[in-house]
């Protein structure tokens, strides 16, 4: 599998994601500079965490105007599989590739700690190895992860089964005590209608090795593995809507 990891100036989880994809999972990984104009030939694209362009403006706002994001629109329109992690999720929102927006955390501060998220949708390339309702323990590290969708957008999200993950406690229950940033409806991750594009605030690449205290994040990458393996080696354009059970 060939995975492209986008590097914006200020990305800082690019090397961590590269390490997991290549050294832990054994796939081919390559960095994709933000000025690249095509993503053809990649089995999946990951937008890693960090502070693209410093994020002095709204997080992800400047990165969303990069050439690589224009290429990503074409890639996604063709059914290309894309994951946005943390800052990468923020970029996908700012680019309009996923619905909704991020506000500063309700606590007003950066938060780096482990949280629990519940899997809400399993027919995506990043959740197909997981069970609905399954609880993952993953780290977060962000200052702007307070997800918001206005009422019509939120209704559409629910109708289209676009909520991929929700913050919860260890038992899987949602509630104010288990919502680290004040996200609307406890939303921690969102998928595109087909499920091919997924964004989430927690960092699966930080929880993919037992030595670092957890391997739940690896399940998300394992899903991608399974998804790509199950896909017929046909033309990339025919990828959209592929079901894997």
């Amino acid at each position: 599998m060939d995975v492209g990891i986008v590097v914006f100036p200020g990305s800082n989880c690019d090397a961590d994601t590269y390490h997991v994809v290549r050294d832990v999972l054994g796939h081919r990984a390559q960095y994709v500079w933000h000025e690249e104009r095509t993503l053809d030939g990649l089995d999946a694209v990951i937008l890693p965490g960090g502070f693209a362009h410093g994020d002095y403006l709204r997080a992800g706002a400047i990165a969303a105007t990069s050439p690589v994001v224009r290429a990503l629109r074409a890639y996604a329109a063709g059914g290309g599989v894309t994951l946005g992690i943390c800052n990468g999720f923020q970029v996908l929102l700012e680019a309009g590739l996923l619905p909704g927006a991020m506000r500063p955390n309700a606590c007003g501060e950066f938060r780096c700690e482990c949280v629990h998220i519940r899997v809400e949708r399993t027919d995506t390339p990043f959740t197909c190895a997981l069970a609905a309702g399954e609880v993952l323990r993953l780290p977060i590290a962000h200052a702007e992860g307070n997800y918001y969708a206005d009422p019509p957008t939120h209704r559409a999200l629910l109708a289209g089964r676009q909520v991929a993950f929700r913050y919860c406690d260890a038992s899987g229950a949602t509630g104010p005590g288990a919502n680290p940033n004040g996200s609307h409806d406890a939303i921690a991750g969102v998928a595109s209608p087909t499920g091919a594009v997924v964004g989430l605030m927690p960092h699966p690449e930080r929880a993919s090795e037992g030595l670092l205290g957890g391997e739940d994040g690896r399940r998300i990458f394992d899903s991608l593995d399974r998804w790509v393996a199950a896909r017929p080696p046909a033309a990339p354009a025919a990828r959209a809507g592929l079901e894997v059970r």
Partner: protein, 748 residues
């Protein structure tokens, strides 16, 4: 070049121009054989500032051991470096940003992070971890709360964005830091041993390249400002730099990429004293000179004078000497990362710093005369307060009820959980952090040299140093080494940050010399080289701070998978105490928190015993003989046991032998004895005993892990234990009170 000035007189009498003493201006005239022009005098002013020149500390610092096995770079470069095996070098250094953080907490702390990162970068190393050692006044003081909030926000904003994890440190509170906080930041980097960079200029004709952010008017005279007492002048804010972590991140990537080409001969950060310092130090180290044209320096604003350009401490700038003919390669890399990358001069043979602006000469100085500032031998005199505070006998205070005292200690700001601080720092980025903040020391795996790992700890105890700076210096080194041993690491090297009041006062300088003696003796006992460090004097705004030497220590783990953390792991594990020193209440946190006094007579630690205990604990962890390990520090063994319970979510039943007439508070809360609490399965005890016996370390079985309560009592005493508290109650107490952020947002 040493000027014998026996004793510097008071600053008010003698500071003449550019922050220099009158005698120093005379010395400059003598060296030049002429009057310095205004710009030249300003250059001397910053280069001969205490901050840059270490003129009051240099002689005393020679006492520290700098050589040792594995040392690749001792003091004298931008940071120290030690070999950690497999051809890899750990580069590390600690620096203070106290004065800037006092007047502009957010930017002062943020630029403290940025500055130390670039020192590591200048060694050719990728920065992989940060630690910060912070001192504030009481957190509920209205003057202090905004400083705490600003400093923590500044570290958070800079460290998180630049992508270097803040993996540990310490946060300590005492009234003496009320208006003079201490912000000491350590950075660790990793480089190939054979690819370490240097700041030594070489190759006449080679271009001098400016890389990074533009030069602005911030931080002008920052070095001089940090070399005098804080006067509370709001104009001092202009001496504080503004940090931009985004550009800092670009600069890391661009510099490492440029270094990887092999075209870079030398590199240095333009930090304190800016371009002046970088150009003169690089020239002097190479025994060469430089021609520099200031008109080529990229600027943030129009109308800057030559002096401003030379002295600006604008952040995120590096100066490089590049192989002639290959400058375009380096310039292209810089521009690809969106940075300013310009040739501003070239290396020349005569040892002369020839600065011009276009066609106009600005300054012509021998770089060695700028770098070789006068070295002073300040007078030292034992402070009068010592006799008084040492006369206090803790035995004259009535013992506090143990249960209430333990809860009060757990809630004390110095001991309480610091999660409210470290959850604001990204401590996981780079995915190497194996032991997270909150343990005795941070542990990092090395992806490049697996299964090797590195551990880091930062420790200092101003209270101890106030009572006995020599003992305090020793105890800081020992505690750092014990912390490393508890995670299974072998102590390898030290960098220090020595925070003191004005060295021009003999009673302060005496404490400085004593602390260095203590650090030196402890490092010698542990065979640890001090590979770098930093001195911050003039920490007195409303009054002198406690003498506060902070020790950052690097440790190496042969197999990072064999590490330990403080929390109990399994019910029915035995709780065992390693080390048999006698704890004392003198200078303890208990005395400060419960009885409100910092006094008493410290005993000098048994260094040989400490060395054996450290080796025993490290070996026990590395061989996986124990399931947990935790150092007994502030608050004594009772607090250490409570912390093991909280971290492990399990209780324990503990029994102590109590001598006749013995005070329970001394047994429970006494400090300074060199003791480590471990837990292990009962079957493992014989192996631990054999190890301890070989190293002549006393072993005492205290009890066992289990249940949801911590119960501590005498082993043959009455059925009523001294302490019987639920683990949840301990955890609730240790939550402490999180200082409320100021209502009007962060001071920025």
């Amino acid at each position: 070049m040493t000027v014998a000035v026996e004793q510097t007189a008071r600053r008010s009498e003698t500071r003449a121009e550019a922050g220099l003493f009158t005698a120093e201006v005379g010395e400059i005239r003598r060296r030049l054989g002429r009057e310095p022009n205004r710009v030249e005098l300003a250059m001397f002013g910053v280069m001969w500032s205490e901050h840059c020149a270490y003129k009051h500390s240099k002689a005393a610092l020679r006492r520290l051991p700098v050589a040792g096995r594995g040392v690749l770079q001792g003091p004298g470069e931008n940071a120290g470096a030690v070999s950690v095996g497999d051809g890899w070098a750990a580069v590390f250094k600690m620096e203070s940003h106290n004065h800037p953080s006092a007047v502009a907490p957010f930017h002062g702390a943020a630029t403290g992070v940025g500055g130390i990162i670039r020192d590591i970068l200048a060694m050719g190393a990728r920065p992989i971890a940060l630690l910060d050692s912070l001192r504030f006044g009481p957190p509920d003081d209205a003057r202090v709360a905004p400083i705490i909030h600003g400093v923590v926000s500044g570290i958070s904003a800079y460290g998180n964005s630049i992508g270097v994890p803040t993996v540990g440190g310490e946060t300590v509170f005492a009234p003496c830091y009320r208006t003079n906080p201490l912000v000491n930041v350590a950075c660790l980097g990793l480089a190939r041993s054979d690819r370490l960079a240097t700041s030594r200029a070489a190759g006449p004709g080679n271009p001098v390249v400016y890389l990074g952010a533009r030069t602005g008017r911030d931080g002008i005279h920052g070095a001089s400002f940090a070399s005098a007492e804080l006067a509370g002048d709001p104009r001092d804010r202009s001496a504080v730099q503004m940090g931009d972590p985004f550009t800092g991140k670009l600069l890391i990537e661009a510099s490492l990429e440029a270094l990887a080409t092999g075209a870079v001969i030398a590199i240095q950060d333009m930090g304190a004293a800016g371009l002046t310092c970088a150009a003169s130090e690089m020239s002097a180290r190479g025994g060469l000179g430089m021609e520099i044209d200031l008109s080529r320096v990229p600027r943030r604003e129009d109308g800057m004078t030559a002096e401003e350009v030379l002295l600006s401490e604008s952040q995120e700038r590096m100066l490089l000497i590049v192989q002639a003919g290959r400058e375009d390669e380096v310039l292209r890399i810089g521009r690809r990362w969106g940075l300013e990358a310009v040739v501003i001069g070239r290396v020349i043979v005569p040892p002369r710093l020839a600065i011009r602006e276009g066609g106009t000469p600005v300054a012509a100085l021998d770089p060695r005369s700028l770098v070789d500032a006068p070295v002073y031998a300040p007078a030292a005199e034992e402070p009068a307060y010592l006799a008084e505070v040492r006369r206090v006998d803790p035995a004259t205070f009535p013992p506090a009820p143990p249960r209430a005292a333990l809860l009060a200690l757990l809630a004390a700001p110095n001991i309480a959980d610091k999660r409210w601080v470290y959850r604001r720092y990204d401590h996981m980025v780079q995915t190497n952090t194996v032991v997270l903040p909150g343990a005795d020391a941070a542990v990092l795996r090395l992806k490049e040299a697996f299964p090797r790992g590195l551990a880091l700890s930062a420790d200092g105890n101003g209270r101890y140093c106030y009572l006995d700076p020599q003992a305090g210096g020793m105890l800081a080194v020992i505690e750092a080494a014990q912390n490393l041993a508890c995670v299974g690491a072998t102590p390898a090297a030290v960098t220090d940050c020595l925070n003191f009041a004005s060295p021009e006062r003999p009673e302060v300088f005496w404490t400085f010399r004593e602390a260095i003696e203590g650090i030196a003796q402890a490092c010698e006992a542990l065979a640890l080289p001090v590979v770098g460090g930093n001195v911050s004097f003039y920490n007195e705004a409303e009054g002198a701070i406690f003498p506060t030497p902070v020790i950052a220590m690097l440790g190496v783990l042969a197999d990072v998978r064999c590490h330990a953390t403080p929390g109990w792991k399994k019910d029915n594990d035995l709780v065992v105490l390693l080390g048999g020193g006698i704890p004392r209440l003198d200078g303890s946190e208990y005395l400060a928190t419960v009885h409100g006094i910092t006094a008493g007579l410290l005993r000098r630690p048994d260094l040989a015993g400490a060395v054996r205990l450290i080796e025993c604990a490290r070996e026990a962890v590395a061989q996986r003989l124990v399931s947990s390990a935790h150092d007994c520090a502030d608050g004594g063994i009772a607090v250490a046991l409570a912390e093991c319970c909280i971290a492990g979510g399990r209780g324990a039943r503990i029994a102590f032998a109590l001598g006749r007439g013995e005070r329970t508070d001394r047994v429970l809360f006494g400090e300074g004895a060199g003791r480590i609490v471990v837990s292990l399965s009962p079957e493992g005890l014989p192996a631990l005993r054999r190890l301890a016996q070989r190293l002549a370390v006393p072993v005492q079985v205290l009890g066992a892990v289990g249940g949801r309560r911590l119960v501590i009592g005498p082993d043959d005493g009455p059925p009523d234990p001294w302490i019987d508290l639920g683990v949840d109650d301990l955890a609730a107490a240790a939550q402490g009170r999180v200082p409320a952020p100021p209502s009007h947002g962060a001071p920025r």
